[in-house]
């Protein structure tokens, strides 16, 4: 028995509803946190931060955000790219307007502004459902991108229409711009990621989360048992957009440093984040991380294997990459339609029974 819950009893309800009721899981969670916070910042270099950790952490936030909307509340949205753009541009305007204020505040405010925009574009969800809604959110995606491209106020009238993150700090540590230390950028993103995960978890385990899930599973029944669909859907849009906005702000300010809206926050971004949560597992915070890891790391990994180890031509590797990622997505879905998170859950269920099935 490698994995057991025997002897793990909860005697109070709070204990029973904690995130990791099984002691083994809890310890593992602490261990991961310890490594992420205490060890990694000291061993990390530019490559790892910029190619692996930062995209992973930032996409995780976006995935958590979208998962709240799609996975928990069942409102399929393809506007993620547009909302990330709102976060990014809000952050840019704040950074340039109030240079002395801490980046921390700017990023949070960007989230808040995005939440507002999210609510606005969430309004049609009251009438439009399912794939129709998904396609309708594309209206937000295309309109927002167009607007940021068109209205020069958003990019401070720069000639090219690009926005560049000037150097800013928080608590005296440089966070944006080219002179940022790898560890500082990493830690800054990590704080947001952990906070997002915890907040998302708290929201989803309580009554808010249940309202969302009820709407997702059967909106009519939910309304009849007392869920106000307007409120539930709009809060989901708000909370989701808040996280997505934060991730957009980080994506622009910390990760890329310069952004051209149509390219960075285009429709492909919306799809990418959606893929992450489906692959990872709808309605699962862990799944958001798993999905982000899968789609950020796998291509890098395949590239390293193909190009660096086997020395194949880059284009063949890139094409094979597509083939493999595509095939893996399909294989995963066939093995477990509910994503990596569910796969993990079932694996644990099996482990628990191991070595005596049934």
């Amino acid at each position: 028995m490698l994995y057991r819950e025997a002897g793990d009893f909860s005697t109070t309800y709070p204990e029973d509803s904690q995130t990791f009721p099984i002691r083994f899981d809890r310890y593992r969670y602490y261990a991961v946190l310890f490594i992420a916070i205490v060890i990694i910042p000291f061993v990390i270099n530019d490559y790892w931060v910029n190619s692996i950790f930062m995209p992973f952490l930032i996409y995780s936030i976006a995935a958590i955000g979208l998962n709240i909307l799609v996975g928990y509340c069942g409102q399929v949205s393809l506007g993620t790219g547009g909302f990330m753009a709102v976060g990014a541009y809000a952050c840019y305007k704040l950074m340039t307007a109030f240079p002395e204020v801490s980046m921390f505040i700017h990023v949070l405010l960007s989230g808040v502004i995005t939440a507002g925009v999210g609510v606005l574009f969430g309004l049609p969800s009251l009438r439009i459902k399912g794939f129709y809604l998904a396609v309708a959110t594309l209206a937000a995606q295309f309109f927002l991108v167009w607007m940021f491209n068109r209205v020069s106020w958003f990019y401070n009238y720069s000639a090219s229409g690009q926005i560049n993150a000037p150097e800013r700090d928080t608590f005296g540590i440089i966070i944006t711009g080219p002179n940022t230390d790898a560890w500082a950028a990493y830690v800054f993103c990590l704080i947001f990621t952990i906070a997002s995960a915890i907040i998302a978890r708290n929201l989803t385990r309580g009554s808010m989360g249940r309202q969302w899930m009820a709407i997702r599973d059967m909106d009519i029944a939910a309304e009849i048992i007392g869920v106000n669909p307007l409120k539930a859907k709009l809060t989901a849009f708000a909370v989701s957009s808040f996280f997505v906005g934060i991730s957009g702000a980080l994506f622009f300010a910390i990760y890329l440093g310069a952004v051209e809206v149509g390219e960075v926050f285009g429709i492909t971004k919306s799809f990418l984040v959606l893929f992450m949560i489906i692959i990872g597992g709808l309605g699962s915070i862990f799944g958001s991380f798993a999905g982000a890891a899968f789609l950020v790391l796998l291509p890098v990994l395949l590239k390293v294997i193909g190009v660096d180890w086997f020395g194949w031509p880059t284009d063949i590797v890139a094409h094979l990459n597509l083939v493999i990622v595509g095939a893996l997505i399909i294989v995963f879905l066939i093995v477990e339609p509910h994503g990596l998170a569910q796969l993990w859950r079932l694996a644990k269920e099996k482990l628990r029974l191991w070595p005596f099935p049934h």
């Binding site: 530019d46 490559y47 910029n50 190619s51 995209p55 167009w146 491209n149 720069s158 000639a159 090219s160 229409g161 690009q162 560049n164 000037p166 150097e167 711009g177 080219p178 002179n179 990760y255 890329l256 440093g257 310069a258 952004v259 051209e260 149509g262 390219e263 960075v264 285009g266 890098v300 590239k303 190009v307 031509p313 880059t314 284009d315 590797v317 890139a318 094409h319 597509l322």
Partner: protein, 406 residues
Amino acid sequence: DLVFPSLSYRTGPYAANGIPFADGYADYFTLLNERDGGIGGVMTRVPECETGYNTEKGVECYESTKGEGALVYQPLSTGITYQLIPKATADGIPVHSMGYGRTSAKDGTVFRNIFNYPANYWDGASFAIKHLLDVNDGSLEGKKIALVYHNSAYGKEPIRTLEELSEKHGFELMLLAVDHPGQEQKSQWLQIRRERPDNVIMYGWGVMNQVAIQEAANIRFPMENFIGIWWSGSENDVRPAGAAADGYKALAFHNVGSDFPVFDDIQKYVVDAGKAAGAGDQIGTVLYNRGLYAAMLAAEAARTAQEIHGVAEITAPMMRDGMEALKITEEKMAALGLPGFGPAFEVSCENHGGGGFVAMAQWSGTNDQWTLISDYEQSDQDVIGPLIAEDAAAFAAENNITPGCD
């Protein structure tokens, strides 16, 4: 060895353009290795990294290759260039955005590590107008000129310049944005048909070029009045329209065709030896030549750096010095087997952009080839100079840079 990473794109929406460029870039270095044993006795290496014309992957590529001792980056995308400007500056690695990227990077006192010689987008716009002036006997008064542009940072680059020029020469400017990817341009071209501009200038990329040329042919817009920037002037762009594209013009900052001695060497040392980067069928195409030209400029800069610093195994900062001291002369090009292939120019600390010499090429559908129809001429530096200074100053102010040379 000397490392020249190639951030290429052989997949995605712009693959058709990325492939020949990357082939040309790689083949030239292979040639140097095979024929001369590298540069100054040190072998070169061209690690390739696929960006898919995507900024994030571009960043990933940059990060993953910079550790190998990369000497210079050629990102082949304005978007990625913008990402790399601060990063590369901080890392002390030069970036060569040849004929793209941020135009004001020409001001080397602000953009210490960024180079965009021999010509930039504003040179292109200015030269196009200059060409039209020539064709119209020196006056554009009362004419109407339309700009069809890719609705992105890249496409928007020439607008400022054209606006200045329209004031100066008294022509009317009409702006037509095309969103990515640009498969549907009916509205834009119907409008052109209605408003009958005398000339159309295009800043396009990828499928947008093919569709625009096709649509222009559909509305019977006279092709010789249609001028594309150099990224809208490859074989890929005109062939789908067939014979209808005959007479279409495009800007160029280097020569076309494979009628240069260096191509014989490439055939001999690279293609026949089975060492070609691609299938070998791209040689002599516009974009292949551009890749090759970029490689040649990088190699010459490296050679210059070796001379300045007296070491063969140069580092990125040395490479930067080499680039800043680069001198391309007719003789040098002839010696390299590329006589008259590009304009002669010089780089200095104040000027990272060369002379801004541009030529006009024209497509002949019947011969299925491009030909240069003008000499290299300098663009209108009176208009461009101040614009560059202004933009660079703004950047310097925003980023706390004190302009200057050391």
